[in-house]
């Protein structure tokens, strides 16, 4: 087995004046679930396209399962699969026929039928397999895209926002499939906007912003980059508390999805903030030390701290990837 399932080193891509990717490194080992994070337009999908040979890079090298290739004309190596954006199929053919065509395209004739049935069963599309893809929902096409990838028995799997159109149960199933594949030794590159999903699922992370890697390393290492202590705060009026925090020196508060506030401050600033809350008639109902959410770190990385954290990420990458990756 290869030491690295994926080695993308120094990948750059420019569209006219726009620098879509700037010397991006991305390395993944077999069995690793590697999250690829970044805001819209950060370059995640372009990077996926480069790695799958759909877009030619201007500089850099990509090795998939140990094999380098001319990405502009070479075929995708056996064992590499995936999709970018919403998977597309021929709308006048059924889901089953689309998959059968892809099996033929891969050059697998005889055992193809069994593999199609297995893939359909795995992603739960069996009952709709005879329906033409033109009448599929976006979620069903996403499932079919995953089935198409599974047909290639992937050892390196690229998934671009694979749960974006799925209902919660469908998303859970897809995450379970990705986890199982990783447990079996497949390297999965999982591009997503869903921070909670990536935090739950991925062992390693690469964060891209404006075409540059601003962090690459383990999820735990990303948390260690937090510069200040973080507290979870619940009050009688969270909106007013959030507004008050903006006027308190040394205090930074963000609203979490469950309505609580995540407050970043040292102990003196926090004391002053709590006193100010009391004076403003806002009751503190809960205040406890909190593990910093990946989301707030992500926002820090992509909005403010890119330059500061890059050095730290290089260090993290040195621990996880080949020596060239950090150079």
């Amino acid at each position: 087995m290869e030491r690295f399932a994926l080695e993308a080193l120094g990948v750059s891509k420019r569209y006219g004046r726009h620098e879509a990717l700037s010397s991006v490194d991305l390395v993944a080992r077999p069995g690793q679930l590697h999250g690829l994070l970044g805001p819209n337009g950060a370059g995640k999908t372009t990077l996926m396209r480069v790695m799958l040979g759909l877009v030619r890079c201007d500089a850099g090298a990509v090795r998939l399962l140990g094999a380098g290739r001319d990405l502009s004309i070479g075929r995708v190596p056996d064992g590499v699969a995936g999709f970018v954006e919403t998977p597309a199929f021929y709308p006048y053919l059924s889901g089953r026929k689309n998959l059968a065509l892809l099996v033929r395209l891969d050059g697998d004739g005889g055992a193809g039928g069994d593999r199609v049935e297995r893939a359909l069963e795995q992603i739960g599309l069996g009952p709709q397999a005879e329906v033409t893809v033109g009448s599929y929902s976006a979620g069903m096409r996403q499932r079919l895209g995953l089935a198409a990838a599974l047909l290639r028995s992937p050892r390196l799997l690229f998934l671009d926002e694979p749960t974006s159109s799925l209902d919660p149960r469908g998303a859970r199933d897809v995450r379970a499939i990705a986890r199982r594949l990783a447990d079996e030794g497949t390297a999965v590159i999982w591009s997503s906007h869903d921070m909670a999903e990536v935090e739950e699922l991925c062992d390693m992370l690469t964060v891209i912003d404006r075409g540059r890697v601003v962090f690459s390393g383990a999820t735990g290492e990303l948390r260690q980059l937090a510069p200040a202590a973080v507290f979870l705060l619940r009050t009688s009026n969270n909106d007013a508390a959030l507004e008050l925090a903006s006027s308190q020196p040394g205090v930074r508060a963000t609203s979490l999805t469950d309505g609580a506030l995540e407050v970043s401050a040292d102990i003196e600033a926090l004391d002053a903030y709590v006193v100010a809350l009391g004076r403003a008639g806002i009751a503190v109902r809960l205040l406890e030390r909190h593990q910093r959410s990946l989301e707030s770190l992500f926002l820090d990385l992509t909005e403010h701290g890119a330059a500061e954290t890059r050095a730290a990420s290089r260090g993290a990458m040195n621990d996880s990837g080949p020596s060239q990756a950090a150079s």
């Binding site: 759909l54 075929r75 065509l101 033929r104």
Partner: protein
């Protein structure tokens, strides 16, 4: 690029074509159209006297495929050539399926080869279907009487059949040339309407040029000139000059268009 890979892509493309309504309609029209024409000629009193062999459509069944051949050169062959050729690449843009097929075990060269082979094969099949159907319609509806050749000589049925078959074979190179033109437009424009429509418009423009005083060299370079090369086969003393010229011009169109299309597809960023 491997032959096996090209054939795999060709097989997939043929399956896709077989599932499309437009393909069936075109082939059905190729088969049924000549029978409708022959039946109409038989029942109506007038004949198309302004067309080569038009005067003979009631006298010899072998005149029917030659009239269809002359009519086809105007726009039918460009349409048959581009209905698949002009759509075979741009359909992937329309459906967004480039990413699906280019992330399988086939290189761009193999995908290109398979698609071109399918388009050329379909054009040849459509022409063959039209030819066979025209001959069958002429013989069954009108009869297998001797044919009056372009020099006024009487051509016996067996020889007439061979001459008609050869005449239809001569339109294959320009038809394939139009297919290659449609393919390059399909790649360049990424638009099926342009891929199918522009070759037909180009064909009509070239036909119009035949009525304009202009350089003879330019006229010889027009691929539509090759559609009339079969006239030399239906004279008492056959002449092959236009046939050779037309075949060379067609071959040039095929090679140039396919090389350009291949280079464009190879260098293209998909969805980037």
């Amino acid at each position: 690029m491997s032959i096996r890979g090209v054939l795999a892509v060709t097989g997939v493309e043929c399956t896709k074509l077989a599932a499309q309504l437009k393909t069936r309609i075109v082939l059905a029209a190729c088969v049924a159209g000549p029978f409708g024409f022959a039946a109409a000629m038989r029942v109506q009193s007038s004949v198309p006297t302004d067309t080569l062999f038009g005067r003979s459509v009631k006298e010899s069944g072998f005149a029917i495929p030659l009239v269809v051949l002359g009519f086809g050169a105007l726009w039918v062959f460009p349409v048959l050539a581009s209905v698949v050729g002009g759509d075979v690449f741009s359909a992937e843009d329309r459906y967004g399926t480039w990413t699906t097929i280019l992330t399988r075990s086939r290189s761009r060269s193999e995908v290109f080869g398979g698609k071109v082979l399918t388009a050329l094969g379909f054009s040849a099949l459509a022409v063959a279907a039209l030819a066979v159907s025209s001959v069958a319609a002429g013989v069954l509806v009108v009869g297998s009487q001797p044919l009056i050749g372009l020099s006024g000589e009487l051509v016996p049925p067996s020889k007439a059949l061979i001459s008609v078959a050869l005449a239809w074979v001569t339109v294959l190179p320009p038809t394939l040339g139009f297919t290659a033109l449609a393919a390059v437009l399909s790649v360049a424009t990424r638009n099926s309407a342009a891929g199918i429509g522009l070759p037909v418009v180009a064909g009509l423009m070239m036909q119009l040029y035949a009525f304009v005083d202009g350089p003879e060299t330019l006229r010889q370079l027009l691929i539509t000139s090759a559609f009339g090369a079969w006239h030399g086969l239906l004279t008492a003393t056959p002449y092959y000059g236009p046939l050779l010229e037309g075949t060379m011009v067609s071959a040039t169109y095929i090679v140039v268009c396919l090389v350009v299309a291949y280079r464009m597809l190879r260098r293209r960023d998909i969805g980037g």
